[in-house]
């Protein structure tokens, strides 16, 4: 079943008098359980696509359905709710709150929905255990290595059991050892039937996925199973 359905999605930005078409009509479907890499040079519109997929922004025209829900017509508050329930984000910059210990960072998305404090804490600690940081629960981001910080961020993305794990250059700030660590973790998560979309410009990262979508000038230039792309 299709989790993501993009139909002729356009996104135009207005900078002063200039209109920039970041997405020029994208039609794309991603099924549940797929592991997709989105590649392309900078300015190709892959970041804009990520914002649309993550409901951080809405298309100027065209239709985007996430798990059957039409996102285009939603209010800010409804979009916030969809992001909370359906999407787990992993950013290049980790985006952890420095003043909070790891478990509080992981707990953060849960605070925007119900549940008791004890329950949220349990779930956060379970998610940290899942990414192999069960012994770093009380550490603050500053006390963790880059790879560990990104694992905390992945735990935060997983803690709500989202339909979609959306990673934007997840290894862009990591050394090669940490990169291997994170890619290994993504492989494991794919093994658990999770839908993963990774935006990257690194070939080794894309290499791990099942399917690679290549973008150029706001359009999909190539969409094929990864094995077939320049192995």
């Amino acid at each position: 079943m299709s989790l993501i359905e993009l139909t002729d999605v356009c996104k135009t930005y207005r900078t002063g008098s200039l209109q920039v078409a970041a997405l020029a009509g994208i039609t794309l479907g991603i099924d549940e359980g797929e592991y997709v890499a989105v590649m392309g040079p900078s300015g190709s519109g892959k970041s804009t696509l990520m914002h649309i997929l993550g409901c951080l922004d809405v298309p100027t025209s065209g239709r985007y359905r996430l798990a059957g829900e039409d996102v285009g017509e939603m209010s800010e508050a409804q979009l916030a709710d969809v992001r909370n329930r359906r999407v787990g984000f992993v950013f290049q910059q980790f985006n952890l709150l420095a003043s909070m210990p790891a478990w509080r960072n992981v707990e953060l998305p849960l605070t925007y929905r119900g549940g008791s404090r004890a329950e949220r804490r349990d779930r956060a600690i379970t998610a940290l255990g899942r990414v192999g940081l069960g012994d770093r629960v009380q550490h603050r981001p500053g006390e963790l290595s880059g790879g560990e910080q990104q694992r905390v961020a992945i735990a935060r993305a997983l803690v709500t059991e989202p339909d979609l794990l959306l990673a934007d250059e997840p290894t862009g700030n990591l050394d090669s050892a940490s990169t291997r660590e994170i890619l290994g973790l993504l492989d494991e998560l794919h093994g658990d039937e999770r839908t993963i979309v990774v935006i990257t410009h690194e070939a080794d990262v894309a290499h791990r996925s099942q399917r690679t979508v290549r973008m150029l000038d706001g359009l999909v230039s190539d969409d094929a199973p990864t094995a077939a792309v320049g192995r």
């Binding site: 992001r83 329930r85 709150l97």
Partner: protein
């Protein structure tokens, strides 16, 4: 996210930037402390003045002959120095004509020298009736006051003020002793309790009271029927204006003069109080205005810091939005934070203000009255200031687009 969590997040944000939060609070703190102290000073001063005026006798109407006309002269009937009589006083004490007047004391006054043994002392000799004690709200420390019998018998007795008594008799007990006025021996039957430290021109503790009849017939001076002043006490503060109307109407009628051209003047304690009060009020308003300006400055400080805070935490805001925070929750979070700054500043300011109220009276002689209602009000105002000046920064945070916020480095 419920209120408890929002509150906790706000507290964490305030704690995370201790120095900045403390400096922000300082503005509010100074403003609130200033408000509490100025209001305290104002109330302290006005209650001191009130006490002083009340020591003259509460609910008092003071009726004096003549009236200041518009031309500035004193208006009085031809051929008579004073226009108030014992009959006027008797009429005023009628419960039928003047039901709101509780006690009436006609007073006739002269200055004379009293002699006791080798001591002599010049003071006011006041002829009056037994109701003087009630009308002037005084008490007798020892002995008794003048009685109806003294009045009727033209008795040669006197009640002395405590100062007069000590001037004449030193440390010995004045009761039963004799004081002479112009060769007339008067038996001292009582001594008044001190009226307290009164700054009024006439010393309430230095006078010799004699029956009105004794003054008129034995000591002489004024005519037998006229009196210098009539003190009339209203039944309660609430009936003072009714008592005023009754006395005014009655005296106009008795004297056969028109309301436009009266030959007497009625003063009330209220008119003295309101004069004193209005001076005081002006001062308090002035000081409170200065305090209010410092609160405004404090509020602008809160807004400034909140704007800095929003700019600095723009990534955090973007992240929270990405993780599911609605604009409403973001706005609430910043409003709570601003209110907390205001509240903390208010509580600390109240603490400083109260400490000042305890310490300052030892340094300057003014009393500072602490009003719990004003203190609680000031704290509430401080919180409100934080809230109001937090609205704009919080709105800015809420409106931030998540992608712009996340993109910022």
């Amino acid at each position: 996210m419920n209120w408890a969590q929002t509150l906790r997040t706000g507290l964490e944000a305030v704690r995370a930037h201790r120095l900045r939060s403390a400096l922000t609070m300082l503005g509010i703190l100074i403003g609130i402390a200033a408000v509490i102290l100025t209001v305290g000073f104002g109330e302290g001063a006005s209650s001191a003045i009130k006490d002083q005026i009340n020591s003259l006798g509460t609910n008092l109407l003071i009726i004096t002959p003549g009236s200041a006309t518009s031309s500035g002269g004193v208006n009085g009937p031809l051929g008579s120095a004073t226009t108030l009589t014992v009959q006027d006083a008797n009429a005023l004490s009628s419960r039928v004509v003047a039901p709101d007047i509780a006690a009436v004391a006609p007073v006739s006054q002269t200055v004379d020298t009293l002699t006791a043994g080798t001591a002599n002392w010049t003071t006011s000799v006041v002829g009056t009736t037994p109701s003087w004690l009630k009308a002037r709200a005084r008490t007798v420390a020892e002995g008794r006051f003048l009685t109806e019998a003294d009045e009727k018998d033209v008795a040669d007795v006197t009640v002395l003020g405590p100062v007069t008594a000590s001037k004449l008799f030193g440390n010995s007990d004045p009761l039963g002793q004799t004081a002479d006025i112009n060769g007339l021996p008067l038996e001292v039957v009582g001594v008044l309790t001190s009226a307290g430290a009164s700054a009024s021109a006439t010393n309430e503790d230095d006078q010799a009271l004699v029956p009105l009849t004794t003054l008129a017939q034995q000591i002489g001076g004024a005519s037998r029927t006229s009196v210098g002043t009539i003190y009339a006490e209203a039944t309660s503060p609430g009936t003072l204006s009714a008592a005023y109307q009754e006395a005014n109407a009655l005296l106009l009628n008795l004297h056969g003069v028109s309301a436009k051209d009266p030959d007497f003047t009625i003063n009330t304690q209220q008119s003295l109080l309101s004069t004193a009060g209005s001076v005081n009020k002006t001062l308090t308003i002035l000081l409170a205005g200065i305090a209010a300006i410092s609160l405004l400055v404090g509020g602008i400080g809160v807004m400034n810091i909140m704007l800095v805070s929003v700019t600095e935490r723009i990534r955090e805001i973007g992240l929270r939005k990405a993780l599911g925070a609605t604009p409403r929750l973001i706005r609430r979070q910043f409003l709570v934070e601003a209110s907390l700054l205001g509240l903390a500043g208010g509580v600390l300011g109240a603490g400083v203000g109260l400490a000042g109220a305890v310490v300052l009276p030892h340094l300057v002689s003014n009393a500072v009255a602490i009003s719990p209602a004003a203190t609680v009000g000031a704290i509430a105002v401080a919180m409100l200031i934080g809230l109001v000046f937090g609205v704009y920064p919080a709105g800015r945070a809420a409106r931030l687009a998540p992608i712009d916020a996340l993109r910022t480095e």
